[in-house]
Amino acid sequence: MSEYIIECRGVKKWYGEFQALKGIDFNVKKGEVVVILGPSGSGKSTFIRTINRLEEHQAGEIFVNGIELNNDVRNIAEIRKEIGMVFQQFNLFPHLTVMDNITLAPIWVRKWDKPTAEAKAMELLERVQIPEQADKYPGQLSGGQQQRVAIARALAMEPEIMLFDEPTSALDPEMIKEVLDVMIVLAQTGMTILAVTHEMGFAKTVADRIVFFDYGLIVEENTPDNFFTNPRHDRTKLFLSQILH
């Protein structure tokens, strides 16, 4: 087996005539924290969504945990079990309680019995610091609380990899920190993380590597230190000058 938990070779993706990914070569080691940066529309979301098959790539290869991501539904199911995903809009199930949101997949996909799943859910709710909200419905929670439930829901499947797609972009400023804190702890406990985020603090403090996307390509890969202080590419410099004023 290869040393990488995610391997992408020449991944390409078109929406109709429009090419969103133009050949992505990209590997992630187990336990690595990678932050994906890039201007809006550069293909960041498209790329991380191909990794758990929310989008289908049309050329190139993707392996997760050594399993090839292709049209074989068993492979897709196997890979999705190993990947948790957190969305910008939370996407909690509004008709289910927080507890049911979290336990649904462990019970029906992992086939755990209900007490086991609920014990695990309570443990995760403690970890994201909202155990008292277990019986509420998502609509009764603040945005920051909802996003923490979404993180707990993804973690309940005990995934090897977590994908974050702008998890704090839909949040009011005072709630961003409570979500970031959870992500930082997660990163420090050895979870493999692939995160699209504009939170430079998160990128600087916990990322092992920063990947910069533009026009459907990886323009630059670098350590956080070098990326921010000594970027190699002109496009990176332009991007940094825009976001850091």
Partner: protein, 356 residues
């Protein structure tokens, strides 16, 4: 300088004219000149319509047309020596309904599960209770041509509702499918059925079913009407369900996919519960329409409630009893339709539609 303790934190009582009976009258009946005129006009209209009707109903009307024929109205030509079976069925449903009101409100999971199982088997039990068995002396077979009255109307409506539900949901999913043949067939079915009146579907079922089935199988008219009702209702239900499906954001599918739920699990746990609860009002409206539409089966010769009601008018003693009979028939349809409507409002409240 103002400190926090200086601020008056007590509340004043609202003005007398804003609360209580006076407040209610002011806000709801006499809020403005226009409201006042509307209120007076409405009261006048109610007086003009209701008072003479009530006077007639109490003093002049000959309600014996209804009371003497009550058994016929309930079950049509179903043999009176066997009609205790109908009443057992009614009693059973009433008991189950009352028990359910308590059980489903409580927290007893075992009790709720048991009750659900009872509901699931009850249609089969009631069916055999009413139909009986060939050669049995205990529960002799009752020919389907003898089922009539409210009993028949209910059987058509309940079967129509129960059978059209799964078909309608499948058609709605079919119409959204990525597979062109399934999509095309569902769409054509829905549009064709919605494009013709119920009566034509009823006639088609009378004429077409015998063509499809083997020649030695003869299907009772009641069954043909049941099939027609279900197939007709399914097309409308499919469109209602589709409306609900369209209201579900893409993120719900994506979250379910990302968690690894299978397509069936997604539909069953995530999509359908949300889609259906948003369309409870139109679906119940459609089922009320279905219940009333069962009165059209008289045209293919079935003795449903409206048909047996009309038959009273040809009885020697009640030749002129149109007013009583039609008023009573309307009242019965109204009571059951209204009950369905109220039940749906309760269901919506319980499920918190529009709140989460």
């Amino acid at each position: 300088m103002t400190t926090a303790t200086d601020i008056n934190t007590a509340y004043e009582a609202p003005p007398r004219t804003e609360v209580g009976v006076l407040g209610w009258l002011k806000h709801h009946l006499f809020g403005s000149w226009f409201d006042t005129i509307l209120t007076i006009l409405s009261l006048g209209l109610l007086y003009v319509v209701l008072v003479p009707s009530m006077r007639w109903a109490v003093t002049k009307a000959n309600w014996r047309a209804i009371t003497t024929n009550i058994l016929i109205l309930i079950h049509g030509p179903y043999p009176q020596t066997q009609n205790y079976r109908v009443f057992i069925a009614i009693g059973l449903l009433v008991v189950m309904g009352s028990v359910s009101l308590f059980i489903y409100r409580g927290e007893n999971v075992r009790g709720r599960r048991t009750m659900t199982i009872i509901w699931a088997v009850s249609p089969f039990f009631i069916w055999y209770l009413l139909a009986g068995f060939k050669g049995s002396s205990f529960l002799p077979l009752i020919e389907y041509s003898k089922w009539g009255g409210l009993l028949l109307s209910f059987i058509l409506a309940i079967f129509g509702i129960l059978a059209s539900f799964p078909i309608g949901v499948l058609l709605a999913l079919g119409r959204q499918s990525d597979m062109p043949i399934i999509k095309w067939m569902s769409t054509v079915y829905i549009e064709v059925v919605r494009g013709v009146p119920f009566i034509t579907v009823l006639f088609m079922a009378q004429v077409m079913l015998p063509l499809i089935l083997p020649p030695d199988v003869r299907v009772a008219g009641m069954f043909r009407a049941m099939v027609a009702t279900a197939l007709f209702s399914a097309a409308y239900l499919a469109e209602n369900v589709r409306g609900g499906l369209q209201a579900i954001p893409r993120g719900q599918y994506e979250a379910a996919d990302a968690l690894g739920l299978s397509t069936f699990q997604q539909m069953y746990f995530i999509i359908m519960p949300q889609a259906l609860r948003t369309v409870i009002p139109p679906i119940v409206g459609q089922f009320i329409g279905l219940f009333k539409d069962t009165s059209l089966v008289a045209i293919v010769g079935l003795l449903d409630f409206l048909n047996v009601s009309q038959s009273i008018l040809s009885q020697a003693g009640f030749l002129g009893a149109q007013k009583e009979v039609y008023l009573f028939a309307a009242l019965v349809y109204f009571v059951f339709s209204f009950a369905m409507s109220s039940a749906s409002i309760r269901l919506e409240k319980q499920l918190g539609v529009g709140q989460r």
